[in-house]
């Protein structure tokens, strides 16, 4: 499985940025769960599941990147590092797969939340996520391409939502998901130069910060009413 490294100066910065995404996702998932406890509406549970799975996916990425940067790469020379990346240890490969699979499942669930499709189709989507994850082994961009499409569908759904309610918070949410989609476009090109990875990571964290601002505004609007 091909694995590309970011520039050395960006080691750990990407982990910090991804950790911010984990915190934002967990925060929203936590509140959504507390709302589910009050209302018992399944949509809250689905949103909680989706955001928690996405958070877990990012956490796994942070963990395997940390291990690669600090435990596996640091004692190696440049040449050895290159050879190492050609044949990654099995547990790292599995961790990368798990990260991708969970990311796709999390987004599928978020997409399903707004569609009038039977929830049983969730299992079919999970199967497709598994298949895509497997094929992304040789073509990593397949994962980012699928993520991009899912994010575009989700963004489009929120555009429709915003047209109906004209809320500034829904507009911000739409911008957040559109920015996430943009980051996936950049991730697809990181084979060309690893600076694309840097740009994609920064744009992705901006997207999650927009999500955080949206959530803070939702709480504030709730308080002022």
């Amino acid at each position: 499985m091909p694995f590309f490294l970011p520039p050395q100066w960006f080691y750990d910065i990407d982990n910090i940025l991804d950790s911010v995404s984990v915190l934002v996702l967990l925060l929203i998932a936590f509140f959504s769960m507390s709302y589910y406890r009050i209302s018992k509406r399944k949509n809250y549970l689905l949103l909680t599941a989706s955001f928690s799975i996405l958070a877990l996916s990012f956490a796994i990425k942070v963990a395997y990147n940390f291990i690669i940067y600090h435990n596996l790469l640091s004692p190696l020379s440049l040449l050895e590092a290159h050879e190492f990346l050609e044949s990654l240890p099995t547990f790292i490969v599995l961790a990368v797969f798990l990260h991708r699979f969970l990311h796709l499942v999390g987004l599928f669930l978020l997409y399903l939340l707004h569609q009038k499709v039977p929830k049983s189709s969730m299992f079919l989507l999970i199967y497709f996520a598994a298949v895509l994850t497997y094929f992304s082994r040789s073509a990593y961009y397949l994962f980012h391409l699928t993520t991009l499409f899912l994010l575009l569908f989700i963004t489009w759904t929120y555009v429709g939502q915003w047209r109906l309610n004209k809320r500034s918070t829904t507009l911000l949410l739409t911008i957040g998901f559109a920015t996430m989609a943009l980051s996936q476009v950049l991730f697809m090109f990181y084979q060309i130069t690893n600076l694309f990875y840097v740009a994609a990571e920064i744009i992705q964290v901006v997207a999650y910060l927009v999500l955080l601002i949206t959530f803070i505004l939702v709480l504030r609007h709730g308080k002022t009413k």
Binding site: Y35, Y44, H114, T169, L173, L219
Partner: protein, 89 residues
């Protein structure tokens, strides 16, 4: 206007009491929260049982006052409604 669910009605009831200075007569609550007597009675009993509101006697009339727990739930329900509208749930 869409039909309100049970949680929304409870939220409206608590909100009406708050807007009325924290206390209200049952008939006023019924009108201001757009409820029938049949709808309001079991909900009010539930709110009393859960200590979200309390019954007090004032000038020979029954009043319902919102408790601290009720204020907290009302706040949470407003946040929840805002969250629901933003995320389109």
């Amino acid at each position: 206007m869409a039909k309100r669910n049970r949680v929304q009605i409870v939220g409206d009831m608590l909100s009406v009491i708050q807007q009325n200075g924290g206390e209200i007569k049952p008939t006023h609550l019924m009108y201001k929260a757009n409820l029938s007597h049949m709808q309001m009675r079991p909900l009010l009993e539930e709110l009393l049982a859960k200590e979200l509101v309390a019954r007090v006697k004032k000038h020979q009339y029954d009043y319902f006052i919102i408790t601290e727990k009720g204020v907290h739930l009302s706040q949470k329900l407003k946040e929840m409604r805002e969250f629901e509208k933003t995320f389109g749930l």
